[in-house]
């Protein structure tokens, strides 16, 4: 009973605190504190519920149990992280986004190809591309190369579509201005069209971050060496060691948020001139 009361009290306290925060004038720390308080409240409620209702630890481990697990198997988690994120997801992300960027710039010179590629690319971007995973695992073997290949296929089309659209973003007036400066194709591309495409390109890059992680992890369900986050998740579920699964999820969430945050930060630096980045 005590723990249930704890959960209810934590919820009420967290909510009241946030209501109070919302009434204050907005500063940078209050806009940061509100979501943090909400997150901590959720964790406290989770802990209280699990203990209060005596939910089986096998089904839903308490946050403290997960934290303890992260502490004891840090080495294992790091090995999985290196295999899946550093080797699989990152290399695939770089290859996929790089290839899409180069092809988009090349296609941009031919309006005919562009008109054909945009609808097809949009269509493929909406398909369940993740289904390609078993095929790519068959082609490239069980190790990280096949995971990278899945990631390449997943990030390629969103990136391509966004870059092609971005390259069309510069308006006629600006292009005319470049012409009056007697700027050639390359100069116009570098000084005008690529910079004005940047908001779109970063949109593609940001979508790609989550897709890359998902692709690398799900691809491991179809076969992997005995290391990797997807492998660990699927085997631990089989052994019902769910605290390890949650630990992997925590690492994945951390990696995903950091990856996304990094891209968002880079976007802020590069596209500081865009209306959405100005306050």
């Amino acid at each position: 009973m005590g723990w249930i009361f704890f959960a209810a009290a934590a919820w009420a306290l967290g909510w009241l605190l946030n209501v109070w925060l919302a009434r204050q004038p907005v500063t940078w720390w209050s806009s940061l504190a509100a979501p943090v308080i909400f997150g901590v409240t959720l964790l406290a409620v989770w802990e209280g519920m699990v203990r209060g209702f005596e939910i089986n630890q096998v089904l839903l481990p308490a946050p403290t149990a997960i934290a303890a697990r992260i502490g004891t198997s840090a080495d294992l988690l790091w090995a999985d992280f290196a295999q899946t994120v550093l080797k699989g997801a990152l290399s695939g992300y770089v290859i996929g986004c790089g290839a899409a960027f180069v092809i988009a710039v090349a296609v941009d010179r031919f309006p005919f190809l562009q008109r054909g590629l945009l609808p097809v690319g949009n269509f493929v971007a909406a398909l369940p591309v993740i289904g390609m995973a078993p095929i790519l695992v068959m082609w490239f073997g069980f190790d990280w190369q096949s995971k990278a290949a899945v990631v390449v296929v997943m990030v390629f089309f969103p990136m391509l579509v966004n870059t092609v659209q971005g390259l069309q973003a510069a308006d006629a007036m600006q292009k005319d201005l470049m012409r009056t400066y007697a700027a050639g194709y390359w100069r116009t591309l570098l000084k005008l069209r690529l910079p004005s495409a940047m908001p779109f390109i970063f949109n593609g890059l940001k979508i790609g971050t989550t897709l890359a992680l998902i692709g690398a992890i799900v691809a491991e369900f179809f076969g992997s060496p005995i290391v990797g986050m997807g492998f660990r998740i699927s085997t631990s579920v089989g052994q019902l060691t769910l605290d390890l699964v949650w630990a992997e999820i925590f690492v994945a969430a951390l990696a995903g948020s950091a990856f996304y945050g990094l891209m968002a930060l880079a976007e802020q630096r590069v596209t500081f001139w865009h209306p959405s980045q100005r306050n």
């Binding site: 946030n18 509100a34 005919f112 190809l113 369940p128 095929i135 699927s234 994945a252």
Partner: protein, 287 residues
């Protein structure tokens, strides 16, 4: 629209040619291997013919996939376990349930975020953060845990679809519900409209274009969720199960035909929403 038919067909044609060429390139080693063991030498045309008609090719040629899809849809009874229509139906029901749940949750959250400052400040960042978690990775656990509590079948898969589809709806609806300009909101105030009236007569209608755009993304995401949700259940039924079974037994043609079905399903579902969008927005005088 009509302007882009020829370019699109060109690109699709190019992709098909590329596919056939890749099939020759990837399947040729096996063809040569077979011929060597039989003590024959192959001419180029024989190799090409062989690579396009192998039983378990590395990459099946398009016509093999089309044939397999035709055989497993039109020529099998719908109730048969080998019918792709049956498996698509299983996946479709989970997709739709998850989509409806996700859309409902997304709209509710969006209304809360727009009308409640506390929610806007504390919940909105978590909605965004929730999508940086590769939810598909947790799919196996969600399904096992819900199974242990006695919930099985459609609902666990639908939960994964829901998680994937609520996000675009929240983001789109928050944007949409905030899209009326200050002038329009002032107008409502001069008419002494209540909060409810402002919502039903101004905010909700003006959010519709945003909603439909989000729904298309949500539908595609929901399908992906349902397919991945079928993987850990041990290949019982559904398109995801077909993918897994195919990858266990090296049945590449089966994998590709399941993929084609998934693509067709995605195209149909998104297409239906597109049609609804056009009809609805035209009726509201926005098309």
């Amino acid at each position: 629209m009509r302007r882009s038919v020829v370019p699109v067909l060109t690109v699709v044609g190019f992709l098909l040619v590329f596919w056939y060429a890749a099939a020759v390139w990837l399947n040729a080693p096996w063809a040569y291997n077979k011929a060597q063991r039989a003590g024959e030498t192959l001419s180029f045309s024989q190799v090409v013919a062989d690579t396009w008609s192998q039983k378990k090719p590395k990459l099946p040629a398009p016509h093999q996939v089309v044939k397999e899809v035709w055989e497993t849809t039109a020529q099998k009874a719908v109730t048969s376990k080998r019918s792709l229509i049956y498996h698509s139906g299983v996946t479709l029901s989970a997709t739709l349930l998850g989509f409806v749940l996700g859309t409902g949750l997304g709209i509710l959250l969006a209304v809360g975020i727009v009308y409640n400052r506390t929610m806007d400040m504390s919940v909105m960042p978590w909605v965004i953060a929730s999508q940086t978690i590769p939810i598909l990775a947790i799919a196996p656990m969600i399904i096992v845990v819900l199974n242990a509590v006695g919930i099985s079948g459609l609902l666990p898969k639908a939960m994964i679809s829901m998680y994937l589809s609520f996000f675009p709806v929240v983001v789109g609806m928050v944007k949409g519900l905030r899209s009326p300009e200050a002038m329009q909101l002032d107008q409502m105030r001069t008419w002494h409209a209540s909060k409810g009236q402002t919502f039903w007569k101004l905010r909700l209608p003006s959010s519709m274009p945003y909603l439909f755009t989000s729904l298309k993304i949500a539908m595609a995401a929901s399908l992906v969720g349902a397919i991945v949700g079928e993987l850990p259940t041990g290949a019982v039924a559904g398109l995801g199960a077909r993918l897994l079974a195919g990858s266990y037994y090296g049945q590449t043609v089966q994998i590709w035909s399941a993929l084609v079905m998934a693509a067709v399903l995605a195209a149909c579902l998104v297409g239906i929403i597109g049609v609804l969008q056009r009809v609805m927005l035209r009726r509201m005088g926005m098309g």
